[in-house]
Structures are given as structure tokens and as C-alpha cells.
Subunit: 200 residues, 2 copies
DNA sequence: CGCTCGTTTGAGAGGACTCAAGGTAGGTGG
DNA sequence: CCACCTACCTTGAGTCCTCTCAAACGAGCG
């Protein structure tokens, strides 16, 4: 299996990238801090999310092996609008901003790749915005579930690999609301709940 | 005054770009349709927004002279997740996808410019996500207002150039809620309302 | 003046959230 | 093998607060 990498590992190292280990729960960056590095995941998972004082959070994305995150603030030299936290023990490559720009200049194909990644990320964010505008929880959940299988054309209902709490964090709802609405949707046969596992 | 252009007018024309007029209210593209063109504003304003069945809408952005919009779906060849509508009478340049890619290949500086634009757009979208997660209207409004003056460091309160309805559309609230909350904030001296005009 | 568009106010209802508590499953250790 | 712990799921009752609906006001304009 070929592992897709945002920027080739060897290039990152050659240009001064350094691997750093993060413990589970450790923050890679926090809201309002200034960016200094480009981050790319070698191992583990990183969650990027917004949070508010109520302890509620909104997950922007979960990034794994090969993916990079937090580039826009770095490029624009603006403070991070969100948090990045290690979901599991992680190994990340850290690379200084100047070196990143050197790579993008020396390797047009990397530049192009990042460009496409940005387009995809924007498309995903747009889908999320569409979720947020829905006033009814059920509509939010339907849109979220549908967005999960964007690439998958299958007749069968597939297991949704998230806990109720994670779904709540993706949709901006509360856990209890997610549970109650999913139960309703199950009765209407819009989803299946078998042994507490959710299928859509 | 130098007008900033995403891609130089002359290049667009040379590569087959065509100017097209849109009447006020006319749609440039609609949700779920497939993209065929790159659009750049020559004159007028275009609003990009999501909408739901309730007639509520969420404004993603308002684009004017020199700005382009709707690129991610075009690049990814995916259906538009939102609507683009002429707010005023407009003139736009339409350019086929292949020709856009030719330009980006032939003019690395245009490519780089679009790259930076993407970074900015993503940053703005991230700020919006942060707005959406706030459960209280007042927090949403504060974040929105703060985001308006991101570049402007001024002591004085500045006129907010949006109607209550537009603010509602940006924050996902209803007009009445916006009005009531702004009134509260005015009492708390967080904003000024002078002669119905809003200052922040 | 009469139209349109934006703003404002009030009353009422719905529904998601809050809070509290209990259930279930999987993993760990004695 | 059982007791315990932790994480996740579930349920119920009650409150709060935004939304809904309806109506009216003000400004600008032909």
C-alpha cells in the first residue's frame, strides 16, 4: 500500500525538518498563539478543533499519517484560530516556515499538491458550513453522515466510525441531542442502530 | 489607487476569458450543479452563500472587483455546495478550467497568488467556524465584529457596513435576535448605535 | 403621497440544552 | 473468575432562550 504524503519525508528532513514526539493529549498549538512551524503527521492522530468557554468543542478535522495541518495561519503569519491536540501518541515533523517556502519553490509538484489539498480542505469546510446553517439537529446529522460517504458509492449501510460524542463535536450538538435524534432517525429507518453501533 | 486583481485582466482575455454581464439577483451558479468556469469579478458584487429550506441563509463571502470565487469545486470537479448570486449588476470574466490551468502553469506568480488567496480564504472560513460554535448570540456577534477589523488597528469605533439582515446571514442568527442582542451590547457599551447605524 | 426596504417591538411556543442519574461494555488487576 | 474502573451510552425532567409570527415605524425615493 502506498502511503500518500503531503511532502516527501526525505525532502522534509533534507530541508531541516525535525521529528518530534507528542504524548496523547498534548497540544501541538493553541488558540491565539503565533505559528512557527509546518506540521506533518508521521504517526498517530491529531485533532484540530475550536472550543468555547462552555467546554463545548467543534472538530475541524482529524489528521493522520501523511497529512499536514495548520498551514494557513503559518503562511499568513496570523494567530491560530483553533487548537491542535494529539489524540494518540504522535510523531510529527516540524519544519520552519522559511524552509517550507524553500521546498515549495524548489519542488513545484509539492507546491501543486499542497494547492490541491487546500482546495479539498476548502471544499470540506464549505460542507461543514452547510451543516452549521441547518437549524434542526436531524438535518445537521443527515448532512454530516452524507458527507462521510462522499466518495463511497455503496448500497449497504456502513458503520460510522465515531462515538456519539465525536459526532456531537462535528455537528456542534450536544451528546444527548445526538442520541435522541439518532434514535428517532432509526425509527424512521434513516439509519440503523445495531448493538449501539451506528450504520448509515 | 492600484486595483488588486487575482489574475491580470489581459492574461485572462489572452487565454480565452470572456466577459459576461449578470443582472442583479441573477445566479452565477447554484447548489449541486457542476462547475465549468473560473469566475473573476470585474465590476459589481457577488454573494456566495448556503441556504436551507427554511429560507434562511448563511453568507460565505461577498466578492468584488478583482476577486475570484468558487474555485475549489472547479479544481476538484465536484458539485458546488453553495450558491453564487449577483448582488448588483455585475461583469464577470468566465474562463474554462483547462485555460485556467494553463495560466497557472505559464505564470507561477499567478499560481502563488491564488495559493495565498486560498490560505486567506481558509483562515476566514476557520474564523466563521469559530463563530458557529458559539451557542450564545452575543458571542457570535462579538466574534463576527472582531473579525471585521482584523487588519484595522484603530482606537475609534468604526462603522459596520452591513445591515442587520446581512449580519444575521453572516452569523446564522435571525434579524430580530441580532437587533435585540446589539441593543443589549449597546447598553453594555460594547458597541455604539447612533442613528440606527452600528459602530464597533 | 405611496411604495419599498430596513429596523424595531411584543407575545408566545418549541425545542435543544442543562443537570442529574443510571446503564452497559470492555479492560485491568487481585 | 470476580470486583472494579473507565469510557460511552441512555433516559427523564425542567428551564431557558432563541425563533416564529404579527404588526408597526422610519427613511429614502420616484
Amino acid at each position: 500500500m502506498v502511503v500518500w504524503m503531503q511532502i516527501d519525508y526525505n525532502i522534509l528532513i533534507a530541508y531541516g525538518g525535525i521529528a518530534k514526539k507528542f504524548e496523547k493529549g498534548e497540544y501541538v498549538f493553541v488558540e491565539d498563539s503565533m505559528p512557527h512551524f509546518y506540521y506533518q503527521v508521521i504517526e498517530g492522530q491529531v485533532k484540530v478543533y475550536y472550543s468555547n468557554s462552555d467546554g463545548r468543542e467543534l472538530t475541524q478535522g482529524i489528521f493522520s499519517r501523511g497529512q499536514s495541518f495548520g498551514e494557513p495561519p503559518l503562511i499568513l503569519n496570523k494567530p491560530y484560530p483553533n487548537f491542535a491536540q494529539a489524540l494518540t501518541q504522535c510523531v510529527l515533523i516540524k519544519l520552519g516556515k522559511d524552509n517550507l517556502f524553500k521546498i515549495l519553490k524548489d519542488f513545484p509538484e509539492m507546491s501543486h499538491r499542497l494547492f490541491l489539498t487546500f482546495a479539498e480542505r476548502m471544499y470540506d469546510m464549505a460542507t461543514f458550513s452547510a451543516i452549521m446553517i441547518k437549524p434542526r439537529p436531524q438535518e445537521k446529522l443527515e448532512l454530516f453522515l452524507r458527507s462521510l460517504r462522499k466518495e463511497i458509492y455503496s448500497e449497504k449501510r456502513l458503520l460510522v466510525p465515531f462515538t456519539r460524542q465525536q459526532i456531537a463535536n462535528f455537528t456542534g450538538l450536544r451528546v444527548e441531542t445526538v442520541i435522541r435524534e439518532l434514535k428517532k432517525m432509526s425509527k424512521e429507518n434513516k439509519v440503523s442502530i445495531i448493538n449501539k453501533k451506528l450504520y448509515y
